[in-house]
């Protein structure tokens, strides 16, 4: 029982035409697996995450299928998706710090939502209180307004609310990036605890910060310019990656103690291609040091090792 995505294509309508944000994504997530979804800004990771729950007004489903626990998720049909939202698939949004209605108390937001989803409030409310205490918030939070809470507290309330009905897939979109280092570790470790306690069967953690994913994710999927570059267990991605983009990305991240004089790190020259009319073949071709004529043809995203897939002619050969 798990998530299976096959050839998913989701484009964005913009003033100058369709931005091909997710251009054919195929991957699986096993039960209990926390998959990190990493990539630089504009690579389509957020679009991929959001499309599994709710397409906002400018997103357009093109093709592909999504299967969750054996049942097909009608991602293209906003109305039919409602049945799956909150119960089976849920999201901690990128804008979590402003996701709560500023003029309502936290408690009434929760009860309104539960009643509207005709969930028995009296059965679920004690569980909500228990989970709030679990994440370090007292029951009194229910009587407070969002403006009275700090960033970290709001983040935790949204995490608890989104996962309240034990969805089998939880998408956490940039949960740590708006927080300070200290609260960042606490919140990230809470995600793992939610999985360990079975509140959530499987999880997609979207972030541009690979070092956070290395701490909490079982596997990491790296995206580049709307395409999947590589998916592998966290250790393999960091220490034994098979895709040039991932390797360059990892090598450009300084750790504490790395000094400019001793070890000169290098970035990746150039810029990601525009997704309005993306180039044919491998999209990293223009910036890749190993590029050769075969790269003019788009490399398939296929297995290159145990639970390790990559889209590059070099590794596949």
């Amino acid at each position: 029982m798990s998530l299976h995505v096959d050839g998913l294509r989701v484009y964005y309508r913009s003033l100058r035409g369709d931005v091909k944000a997710v251009d054919g994504a195929t991957f699986d997530i096993a039960d209990g697996e926390i998959m990190g979804l990493a990539g630089e800004s504009g690579c389509g990771k957020s679009t991929l995450g959001k499309s599994l729950i709710r397409m906002d007004s400018r997103m357009r489903y093109v093709s592909g299928s999504v299967e969750l626990d054996g049942r097909e998720l009608p991602v293209w049909d906003d109305a039919r998706m409602n049945e799956f939202r909150f119960g089976h698939v849920s999201i901690i949004p990128q804008y979590a710090l402003s996701a709560l209605n500023p003029t309502r108390r936290i408690g009434s937001i929760a009860t309104d939502l539960l009643k509207a989803r005709d969930v028995p409030v009296d059965r679920v409310l004690p569980e909500l209180v228990r989970r709030l205490e679990l994440v370090g918030l007292s029951e009194d939070v229910l009587h407070r307004f969002p403006i009275e809470l700090s960033g970290g507290m709001k983040q935790r309330v949204v995490m608890v609310l989104s996962s309240l009905l034990d969805p089998s897939l939880l998408v956490a979109d940039e949960v740590t990036s708006a927080l300070d280092v200290s609260t960042q570790r606490a919140v990230a470790e809470l995600l793992v605890e939610f999985r360990d306690r079975g509140f959530v069967k499987s999880m997609i953690v979207i972030t541009h910060d690979l070092s956070v994913l290395y701490q909490i994710a079982d596997s990491i999927l790296v995206m580049y310019a709307g395409k999947l570059a590589e998916k592998a267990p966290a250790d393999a991605v960091v220490h034994a990656s098979r895709h040039p983009y991932t390797q360059l990305l990892i090598s450009s991240l300084p750790d504490v103690g790395v000094r400019y004089e001793e070890q000169r790190l290098s970035g990746i020259p150039g810029r990601p291609p525009s997704l309005l009319d993306p180039p044919t073949g491998c999209r990293f071709r223009t910036r890749c040091p190993f590029a050769f004529d075969k790269c003019a043809e788009e490399p398939p995203f296929e297995a290159v090792g145990p639970a390790h897939a990559a889209a590059c002619w070099k590794t596949a050969a």
């Binding site: 630089e40 800004s41 300070d180 280092v181 200290s182 960042q184 570790r185 606490a186 990230a188 470790e189 541009h208 910060d209 690979l210 070092s211 956070v212 290395y214 701490q215 960091v238 360059l248 990305l249 990892i250 450009s252 991240l253 300084p254 750790d255 504490v256 103690g257 790395v258 000094r259 400019y260 000169r264 790190l265 290098s266 970035g267 990746i268 020259p269 810029r271």
Partner: protein
């Protein structure tokens, strides 16, 4: 070169400015010529305020800031312009640092009109070309373009090039790479490293410990407006003495080490004294005195 002496800054907050927020509390430090000092602190720690105070975008409530011995709060008009000839700033959001109405290279022409009115066109283009080259940007790619047609990395480097036009002595870099992608971030850092080796003093303000440690000679850790640890980067990162620094280092995600291998840090915000006086714990390494500060060897 730059010396900050027990500086304080309070903001008026609340309805009708009743309440007061103490953003910076008795901060003192120096920046020697050609030295890179990293100013590290979480949001709300007052690090940006210190940057703005040095750039005279804000006025000090108490204490003083001196550049080459001259108290900058007294500078007005022409002398302030001279000061800006020696000290310049680059800010966090590349897209907010450019007026979206105009082309990106207007930041250069603005400078030319104020500082180099006498220069002929050819002399100006030569000078501009040199500073763009210093930041490894090719004029053809970046001139006569609108901000949204350029990448964050290019825009930030143009701002640095702008500062170099004035052959400044001190650059205040306030979170200049936190909005950039990892791949382009490191190039800008390396650029700062090159400039340092050519004698430019840099005050590198960031919340990211990894970046701070990469290029700085000395590091200062800030918490709620007060300095909790100050010293050479190796010592502060290698042998942190203040509990707040220790908890930061424990919780910052690293690629070579998992959190599970490190004892969970005490709740960082609560731990440690609150801005006690700085005490020398070892050569060129100071920490705010407090119950949990390990002063010993």
């Amino acid at each position: 070169m730059l010396s900050v002496d027990t500086c304080c800054k309070t903001y008026r907050v609340g309805a009708f400015g009743g309440g007061e927020l103490l953003a910076v509390r008795d901060v003192s430090f120096e920046v020697a010529p050609g030295e890179v000092v990293a100013l590290i602190g979480e949001s709300g720690s007052g690090k940006s305020t210190i940057g703005k105070l040095i750039l005279r975008l804000l006025r000090v409530t108490r204490g003083s800031i001196a550049f080459d011995g001259v108290d900058i709060s007294t500078l007005e008009g022409r002398r302030l312009k001279e000061y800006y000839g020696n000290v310049q700033g680059v800010f966090q959001d590349p897209f907010s640092s450019y007026n979206p109405i105009f082309k990106a290279d207007r930041v250069f022409t603005m400078l030319r009109r104020e500082y180099f009115p006498g220069l002929t066109d050819s002399e100006w283009h030569a000078k501009l070309g040199a500073s763009l080259d210093a930041v490894s940007l090719n004029p053809g790619d970046v001139l006569h373009k609108y901000p949204h047609q350029l990448s964050g990395g290019q825009l930030q480097r143009m701002l640095i090039a702008r500062a170099l036009l004035l052959d400044i002595k001190l650059l205040v870099a306030d979170e200049i790479i936190s909005m950039l992608d990892a791949s382009t971030r490191i190039d800008v850092l390396n650029l700062l490293g090159d400039l340092k080796s050519r004698g430019l003093g840099i005050l590198f303000i960031t919340h990211d410990l990894n970046l701070g440690s990469y290029i700085s000679d000395r590091t200062m850790i800030l918490r709620r407006g007060a300095v909790v640890e100050l010293g050479s980067t190796e010592r502060v990162f290698g042998n942190p003495r203040h509990p707040y620094t220790q908890s930061l280092l424990a919780s910052v995600p690293q690629l070579h080490r998992r959190w599970s291998e490190v004892a969970p840090s005490p709740a960082a915000s609560g731990g440690g004294g609150d801005g006690g006086p700085l005490v020398m714990v070892e050569k060129d390494h100071y920490a705010a005195a407090g119950p949990a500060t390990t002063v010993g060897g």
